[in-house]
């Protein structure tokens, strides 16, 4: 793998059975993403965007093909090895924030650090730094229910970056937000990409959100379209 390429997929295919239906979610996908790239993956619902994101994050295994992330063939790892690898190298941002409701913002951000060897004081310090970075230094002791949607998503981003991962993966990060909050989140992601050099892959079907990325690729019916090409019925 070239020094610059951090994600490389070859012939990546994912099929699964839902009830009695055989579904091809990804078909023979070839993809290369370079370090520091900010890629927006677009496409209609059910096109396979999230499936590709899950395979990159080692949250699932491909049916066929290879995927190499940061030089590791993640699909060949054991479950426990995959979990450690995810904790160390991947930050994941969900559409619905997925914060733990019984934990404060600070405790939510500290959560991934519990899997490291850091002492409690160091963990709290790192979590506080991440929260300050996303502009929530004054909301550390607030519970998710006491935060707005935009603030919740910024806590989720702080949680994603607290371990200083190489890659940040975002699955429709603005899907549940109003326009103003969405812009704050997108600005934050652009800052993480430009100022901190994070490689970001963002799944979205919002063209406005996609324009914050440096590259845009489309997926349609499980196939990754060539750069610059859109699905025929894409408006």
């Amino acid at each position: 793998m070239s020094q610059d390429v951090v994600i490389r997929a070859r012939g990546l295919t994912k099929e699964f059975l839902r009830d009695s239906f055989h579904i091809v979610a990804l078909k023979d996908v070839d993809l290369e993403i370079r370090r520091g790239e900010y890629l927006a993956l677009m496409g209609p619902s059910g096109s396979g965007k999230s499936t590709l994101l899950h395979l990159i994050a080692a949250m699932d295994r491909p049916t066929a093909g290879e995927i190499e992330v940061l030089g590791s063939n993640v699909a060949s790892m054991a479950d426990s090895e995959m979990a450690k690898w995810r904790n160390r190298h991947i930050g994941f941002v969900f559409q619905s924030f997925n914060l733990i409701p019984v934990l404060t913002a600070l405790e939510n951000v500290e959560l991934p650090l519990k899997l490291t060897h850091l002492k409690r004081g160091e963990r709290v310090q790192h979590a506080a730094t991440a929260l300050k970075l996303v502009g929530l230094g004054d909301r550390m002791d607030h519970y998710p229910r006491q935060l707005s949607g935009g603030q919740e998503q910024r806590v989720a981003i702080a949680r994603a970056i607290v371990t200083d991962p190489d890659i940040i993966l975002c699955d429709e990060p603005t899907g549940n937000l109003d326009a103003r909050s969405a812009n704050e989140v997108l600005e934050l992601l652009r800052r993480l990409n430009q100022e901190f050099g994070k490689t970001i892959v963002m799944v979205t079907h919002d063209p406005h959100a996609a324009h914050f990325a440096t590259h845009i690729r489309f997926i349609d019916k499980g196939e990754l379209l060539p750069e610059g090409k859109k699905p025929e019925d894409w408006s």
Binding site: N98, L103, K114, L115
Partner: protein
Amino acid sequence: MKYLPLIVKNALRNRRRTLLTTSSLAISLCLLGVMMALYYALFIGGQPAKAQARRVVVRHKVSIVFPLPLYFREKIAQVPGVEEVMLWSWFGGVYKDARDQRNFFARMAADADRLFRVYQDYVIPEEQKEAFIRDPAGCVVNKALAERHGFKVGDRILIRGDIYPFDLDLTVRGIYTSTDFDDDTLWFNWKYMENMLRNSPRLMAGGFTLLARSEQDVAAISRTIDEMFANSEAPTKTESEYTFGLSFLSFLGNIKVILMSICFAVTFTVLLITANTMAMSVRERVREVGVLRTLGFGKPAIVGLIVGESALISLLGGLLGVLVAEGLCWVVRQGPAIVQQAKTLTIEGPVFAALMGVSLAVGIFSSIVPAVSAARTSIIDALRFTD
């Protein structure tokens, strides 16, 4: 330990459910605690009191309801190792209203002059002892019993006869305490029985209690007495007073099996209650399990978090149950002494450890299936899960 705050917060997530689960556990484990305390006191940890260790009871081999001839007393007295022997007889009778449980206490006739030589743990003023021995209608009562009924020296006590065809009209001549345990007993002078049953074939002993010279003599004395009367008109069964006390329980059935059955039933029920709660609790959090696994938590950590939460709730319930059980033991200790062990009933160390062990086991076994099931759900399925 670094997961403990998360476990505690998860346990308190649904406070009403946690409170109800903890309460149901506490009530069940309280019942289990009392049963285990009884079992332990009766069959495992119970020891005869210091003075009692030398006392031996002789009764009819077939049943305690069959009397023994009076002349046995002198023959028993001649057995090597016997320091003193007294006869006794259970009078029964009714004091005031028999429906009131507080009016139930032992009414026993005994050799007045020998009683305090056999029961050396009894403490009574010398003049009261002498007055009791002198008065054929005299009686002595245990202090706790006297306080419960307001008996004072000089009071008259009327007992209506039911087993015997006469009533007792007794005068309290003394109030005794014991250095071992309060036995809730009224002892009256055997002369009263002799006067009422003069020339009657019913003038027989209910049994004999003897004091051995030493604890080591008890087994040999018991063997010798039973062999001596083996071919007599009334074969005997001789055993330590402690064992004799336990034999009363056999009237209620096989106590061991009854206690064990209740313990198993309670444990199984509490296991089902907790398993149901944990299954509901985990089902509500499948999506969170997906999030935790995305963050890098492995399957063992997920299982540990869920099982830890269940164990915490169970241990809390168990601890509350033990406290309530100890309270119930206190109530039992205040009641009438049907068996000696009831007067000292408490949650002993081994019983406490066993109860905590049961609580922990219930916590683990009730949650292990939902925990493993949640941990084994694929991350994608867990994140898609909607209840």
